[in-house]
């Protein structure tokens, strides 16, 4: 194996895999934006890693992935080992490689992000796992004899899948329940295909099934099966129920026609794009009546600057909108959405309007405009985040044919939680025991992610509120460790 060229980080530019040409995207190509590295490219890009004594990438990753280690394996072409190592910390690496906002996490922390161009960690991760799976590799469970324990997992989103994977590796049979017909939760229904092609989830479904994970799809707990029966039939339960209730901005006019909540918009589009039944099982029960307007030639305004907002603006582009504007109340530096996504969106023609606070949606029947005011940033609050203050007298109106509201989501805990002794916060988040940080010793005897019902664990957006896929994966993974500890000692 070739020796590492120590100046590659300087001599070789950071390069992402080739993207789908702009015109095709504007013409409605929903394929994954980024292609795949060829083997040689992947080695070269992985070889840019400095292998720092302080791997800031790994530190910046909620999963603490062994990034420098698998980059080195990738550089050496040891794809199978690299994939196995990716899986040691990350049950869903090819998915994180695609959907993580790397520029805020690993790549944002990368030493080389300071003037050199970070290592393309996400793209290499995607390459490694895709390549290994394509070569027929699957996780080796030969050393995990069945323990006879069984755990029910509610929700086949990233937290639930991650938990299932770890349990399977521990010889614990995991049965995953989901009210939808496919696995993935928001991965399946929320994230546009230009970020994550659905074949990836199909493949992961196969991998997990191959590991012995059972799936009960289209089954809703509390309707089709009772929580009590799970508690009775299984040794423990994990709740990865997500966070679907969208944050109500209480904007005047939000009920006007052509004002769309982000998630139903994305879901329905997604179903159309992949050719599923657009009238499939509705999402979370309340938005099934969404009337998806044709965006072709329309002026679209998206309110909100998070990752969901970015998904909306870029979907709108692909749906042929005449113009797409993204309205966000703070400045660009303070916007939560991934900078990489912002750049892609800009390139695709999205206009960003920073420091604008939406005040109302105007129109009689259908929306025609958004009233906004300019803002400036105030003093940092206790957490260091600077709030937007409205500049008096700066109001203006933005014409709009369609407005999409992407203000974020909050958990909506099912009613049966309390009945089973599972406490939740006032804001709906399920209460769990914390994971000790770093080297600190655990402060209580509770296992991480254990709820107030000791046989029930929870993680992901249902616990955190809407957050990243990777944090959901991390919680599912670590909850599984707690469950294994509970069941196996």
């Amino acid at each position: 194996m070739s020796k590492k060229a120590i100046f590659d980080f300087l001599d070789r530019e950071r390069a992402m895999p080739a993207r789908i040409p702009l015109q095709l995207r504007r013409d409605g190509d929903w394929g994954e934006l980024y292609g795949r590295f060829a083997a040689e490219e992947a080695k070269q890009q992985a070889g840019r890693c400095l292998d720092c004594g302080n791997p800031y990438c790994s530190w910046g990753c909620p999963l603490h992935n062994r990034i420098p280690q698998w980059l080195e394996l990738a550089r050496e072409g040891r794809v199978i080992e690299a994939a196995a190592l990716c899986h040691e910390t990350n049950p869903l690496p090819e998915i994180c490689g695609r959907v993580c906002p790397q520029d805020r996490l690993c790549e944002g922390s990368c030493t080389l992000n300071d003037g050199f161009g970070a290592v393309t960690i996400g793209a290499v991760e995607k390459y490694i796992v895709d390549a290994a799976l394509a070569q027929g590799w699957t996780p080796d469970l030969s050393q995990a004899p069945s323990t006879g324990k069984r755990v029910a997992i509610v929700g086949a989103g990233p937290a639930g899948l991650a938990c299932a994977d770890r349990l399977a590796r521990a010889g614990i049979e995991a049965t995953v329940f989901d009210r939808y017909e496919k696995i993935g939760g928001l991965l399946q229904f929320g994230i546009p295909t230009f970020k994550l092609e659905r074949t990836v989830l199909d493949q992961r479904h196969e991998v997990l099934a191959g590991m012995g994970v059972q799936f009960k799809l289209g089954v809703e707990i509390g309707r089709d099966v009772s929580m009590q029966s799970l508690i009775d039939d299984f040794d423990a339960v994990f709740l990865g129920i997500g966070s679907y209730r969208y944050t109500d901005g209480k904007l005047p006019g939000q009920d006007l026609r052509n004002v769309l909540p982000a998630l139903p918009f994305l879901v329905q589009n997604g179903r159309l794009v992949i050719g599923d039944d657009a009238d499939g099982k509705p999402i979370a029960g309340w938005e099934d009546q969404i009337d998806l307007p044709d965006l072709r030639g329309k002026r679209v305004v998206v309110l909100g600057g998070g990752d969901t907002g970015m998904d909306c603006v870029r979907s709108a582009i692909r749906l042929g909108a005449a113009s797409v504007q993204c309205v966000y109340r703070r400045d660009e530096a303070n916007m939560p959405g991934s900078a990489r996504e912002v750049a892609n969106a800009r390139e695709e023609g999205v206009e960003f309007l920073f420091n604008r606070q939406p005040l109302a949606l105007l129109g009689d029947d259908a929306v025609t405009a958004v009233r906004v005011a300019e803002t400036r940033l105030g003093e940092p609050d206790a957490r260091g985040r600077r709030n937007a203050e409205i500049v008096p007298g700066s109001e203006s109106e933005l014409d709009a044919d369609v407005v999409i509201i992407a203000f974020g989501f909050q958990p909506e805990p099912p009613e049966w939680l309390a009945a089973h002794g599972i406490a939740a916060e006032a804001n709906g988040r399920i209460k769990v025991a914390p994971k000790p940080r770093g080297c600190a010793k655990p402060s209580s005897n509770a296992l991480p992610y254990q709820t107030s019902n000791p046989w029930v664990f929870a993680g992901g957006d249902g616990v955190r509120g809407a957050d990243l896929v990777v944090t959901a994966v991390q919680e599912g993974r670590d909850a599984a460790a707690g469950i294994a500890k509970l069941l196996l000692g």
Partner: protein, 1495 residues
Amino acid sequence: MMECDQAGPDPLGLYDPRDDRDSCGFGLIAQLDDKPARATVEAALEALARMTHRGGVAADGLSGDGCGLLLKQPERFLRALAKEAGFALGSQFAAGLVFLPHDDADAARCRDTLRKALAEVQLAVAGWRTVPVDAGACGATARANMPRIEQVFAAPLIDVEGARPTPETFRRALFLARRRATQRLQDVPAFYIVSLSADSIGYKGMVLPSRLPQLYPDLQRPELESSVVVFHQRFSTNTSSRWSLAQPFRMLAHNGEINTIAGNRAWAQARAHVWRSEHLDPREFDPVIETDGSDSQSLDAMLDLLEAGGMDALKAMRILVPPATQSLEYKDADLAAFYEYYALNSEPWDGPAGIVLFDGRYAACTLDRNGLRPARWQLTKDRHFLIASEAGVWDVPAAEVLRKGKLGPGQMIAADLRDGRLLESDAIDAINRARAPYKRWLRQGMTYLHSELIDPNLAAEPFDHATLAGFQKLFQLTREEREKVLRPLAETEQEAIGSMGDDVPMATLSQQVRPLYDRFRQAFAQVTNPPIDPLREDCVMSLATQLGREGNVFADSAETVRHVHLSSPVLSQRKLRQLLAMPPYDTAYRYIELGFDAGTGIRAAIEGVCAQAEAAARDGVLLLILSDRRPRRDQLMLHALLATGAVHQHLVRNGLRCAVNLIVETGTARDPHHFACLIGYGATAVYPYLAYQTLHDLGVRGILNTKHGEVAQIGRSYRRGIRKGLLKIISKMGISTIGSYRGARLFEIVGLDREVTELCFAGTPSRIGGAGFAELQAEAEHLAKIGWDNNALPEIGGLLQFTPDGEYHQFNPDVVQALQRAVASGTREDWARYADAVNTRPPAALRDLLALDASKANAIPLDEVEPIEAIVRRFDTAAMSLGALSPEAHEALAIAMNRLGGRSNSGEGGEDPARYRSDKVSKIKQIASGRFGVTPEYLVNAEVLQIKMAQGAKPGEGGQLPGHKVNALIARLRYARPGIGLISPPPHHDIYSIEDLAQLIFDLKQVNPDALVSVKLVSHAGVGTIATGVAKAGADLITISGHDGGTGASPISSIRYAGTPWELGLSEARQGLLANGLRERVIVQADGGLKSGLDVIKAALLGAESFGFGTAPMIALGCKYLRICHLNNCATGIATQDDRLRAEHFTGLPERVENFFRGLAEEVRGYLAQLGARTLGELVGRTDLLRQVDALAATGEKIDLSLLLAGDGLAHGGHCGTPRLAAANDGLAAELDADLDLVLTNALGGSFAYPIRNTDRSIGARLSGRIARLHGDHGMRDAPIDLHFTGTAGQSFGGFLASGLRLTLEGEANDYVGKGMAGGRIVIRPPRDATFVACDTPILGNTCLYGATGGELYAAGHAGERFAVRNSGAVAVVEGVGDHCCEYMTGGVVAVLGRTGLNFGAGFTGGMAYVLDLDRDFVDRYNHELIDILRINHEGFEAHRSHLTDLLETHAALTGSVFAQRILDDFRDFLGKFWLVKPKAASIESLVDGLRRAA
């Protein structure tokens, strides 16, 4: 390093005053015809007095460290004394000096015990005499310890058998009586027999040499005549040293240190059960040789024992301190066989050693294999043989000298008084070689295991994947270790390199289960003895290991040879199998399994293994194999190191160790440190099966990038890597052969409870406790659990590289980022966040277990505390060389420190003169072993001159700057070639001993009298003793570095396993200095991983008044702790010379560094207010303000830091930054100062003449310092001053010479001539009336031109060892040289017109040499690694030919050399016998260019 004994003062905390080391001046004078004379005694006394500068003086200024004489029995004198005392002596008698207790009853008991012991061997006391003494000769310290001194006379009870004893039986009887009396009086520490012999008598005391005759008026009596006098002057590190440890001992006096002493003593104890002669059974004596006191004393006792067993001194001494024998094999097979034969049942006593001895017949001197002590001799026309540490201690007119010489490495010379002849080394070899048919015996009895060139059986039965993974977990072989430790070993055949020190918690503090080996810290040599250079001087080293039953050293016969020879103790599977299939081992080996039942308990398991081993040894088993190769699911695994230590110790105690060989078959041994631990605790050989299995797995998967590209070579490559690592580890301690390291326990344990060390590792310092058996068992349980849990993932590691869920790292991303935020913003809030991240971390350093105890303090308002400006003056940045750092980063640190009023440290890479006298100057200039760019001007542009004895990241090793970092600037400043890597030798070649350090300090103070001299040490058990010695040697400042320091590149195992926390070293140094009354004389600095104000406060409370910072200011400059410094690709532009990275990516600002130190000082102020102190100085040494907190409850480790806190608080300070007075300048140097004042000031030039003697040291250095200050290094080139001297020059003649000084010496010179010279000229020629042959005679000592950067040296005679080592610019012509000439040379020209020693040109990467090879054997004497040799007599070499002629002509003209003139006269005949020596990397053309430029 020395063992503790029952006698002597009690230890104070960590500092153990019995941890005594010495070094010294020595010599002997012998009249070959055995004619006693008063003049001989006088000459010895005079010589002794002239070596006063080599000894030590206590804090009272008068108590010397001891000196003494051993005289051939002065019969007439003793009879006179007896007569005066009122008793008569028969024809045969013995006499001796005895130290007795002052208590009369005790003294009477001692006399009586001796009388009875004499009576048992048919001897009687003829009488006792009180020796007259003048206590006024002693200082107060010595007087307080002075014993009652009497003389005893003994004679045969001739009536008993009716016959007188023969001289031999008389000698043996006296030996037995003396040893028995001593043994029976072990409870009376004051009882000590200085000597009791019919052959000699000793006098010794703790006085300065000039006062010895005053102390003992006997010595002034004219009747005192002798034909042999051995004398010695001691420099001890310990001022309350005992009278009994003054030298000579009964037979010998020793200058240097026996590095192997711990192993030697242990093996002596083991062998007492095997060694036997007709007249001697050493088992009678316990200990068999003295194990307390000094190394020299033990060596004397061993020689004594061997002679009592029937050996003569020529044989015994050569067996004890053999020369390097590897190269003997092809030169003199019979002599090689002599050494190999005795090596089967003895191991070398190794270390710097100049030994003079007298045993009644031979007055001899011998040197260690490395020639680390000087010994110059002369034979006069009246047949006096004189040898001493220095030339010039006798005034013998040149015309009276018949011959002169110097001993080379591993040589011996002896005056045989019986036959009246002088035996030189060859003659002694001839005697030894012919004693027995050793070669035949070996041929019959030695087996050499076959080793195929390619060993296919790395692992004949490879583990399957799951088994391998299980073993790896069970033995904690992590992925990190596999990729970053094992792989490089197998791929590159050497250890991997890392950077930035060790920032994980000590194993005992860790929350993780760490390998047991992590609790063992390798010992290393500093100051009192040197490390060996395993890179360039490996010709003296050996890992050869013999397997077989050890025999009786006194019984010479073929029968005792039934051994197998292994080239190293690292076994391959193939060799182990061969061995087990070979008679007699095939029926005489036994496996002892290390698995045990949890219920048994680990202590019982260890005891069980010991019992099995003992039983096996009693059954006649020859090979004991301790094995963890067959773990069982239901069992726990006993760590191989616990088993090895316990079994070895058990077998030694039971007298069985020599009967068996201990093989360890273990999965725990993977890196060189693991092997060193196992061997150091007694393993004969180690079979590291798991390392092989792991590598085999990597190999078959095609992953290894081996040197040869073949899977089959992996095992061999790995073993080579391990062997190099092992050599490095033993060399660090100054040990040359693995035999001397085996069982020597050269470690300090940090983190094991006494119950464990007693059972397994007795004799190893372990001072703070730690894990006991319960904790070790819990660890074994943990490992068994994950090992057998198929579902547990392989461990990732995280010791070298931070992993977020792994081991804690002190410089983790949080800390780094918080620090960078704090120094960028400069706000209190950000500093508080940073300080909090540091001060509330999980325990990572010992200080984290200590909390401030403000309960007794009255807090004061913050504004009453001294300002930031006063505190920052106590802060230094640690040594980081330009070379390791980019110029931008290096200068930013200097600017910041200069603005603050602290000090930055140049590191060892020189400094651009453009920075002198600017805001970029480094106020601390470092003097390291490479001496890069150390010129007089460099030295005078400093406030502090720091001698780097050791560095935290790799104590005992030299720095290395890889070639890719040596750009044009670095090369210019270091006087080297761009692109060629630079290595600093592990030792300072002018510091092999404490008195040498004193000399270097003296040199530096001569050059720059205004500077403080600082000595940088690394913490390890015994550093208190070293610090005391360093203070006595004249240092102003002592830095104690922790193991965790280090910013540059080092081998990973050095980073991880050597040195101890500074908290231990600092405390020990504080206690040692206090105990010796020296604390007020030095400033003490702590250095190593200091990060916060709280760290500073704790260091102050533990005794530091100054503080060094390495990593933290770097991080302030933008370093992200990437730990890739060694690669030159530092992405922050700090640790790199790459132009792009420096220009575009370095963002460091001095202001950030200033913010760091200000933030630190402000935090310190807060604590000062809290503790009620107005200044930091008030808190120095106030250990009462610290208390230990229990932070380790979770792991159960029982750490006790009370020893650290012991000792009175000492409040003082204020001399930070204030230079102390320099020693008074007197003698010739003062005279020169006065005479040349105006000449120097006005650069006038001129010519002057003076007599000179050996006590005139460093002549020229002081003048050069003034020149450098006034005019620069070369400012007086055009106004030369000619100085003519006549006589013998002291050490460092012409040291650090500046241009314009032209010294001519008629006579001879000692060591270090022209050391560090930058310009000028030195000419040395023999006295005009000399009759010896100049070109065959030494005229210079050792280590001349060390680190010279320019100038010229012409000397008409031989130079000593290591001539022109690290020369980087001087031109020299000499007429012969010792070993290791031109070592590490990077520039300049050396012409040798005569014989060279071995290992010429090792590490020679620049410059050139001419060597005249009349004997046609130069090809065997040069080191082939880096140089080519060429003939000069063909075409294309005209330029060199004329260059050589020019040199010869200059030499002949200046020195009057007869030989040079003869070469010139017959140049055609001689030309064909010259070699031109050049670095392989340099072309002939480039050399010619160089000549042209120089012309």
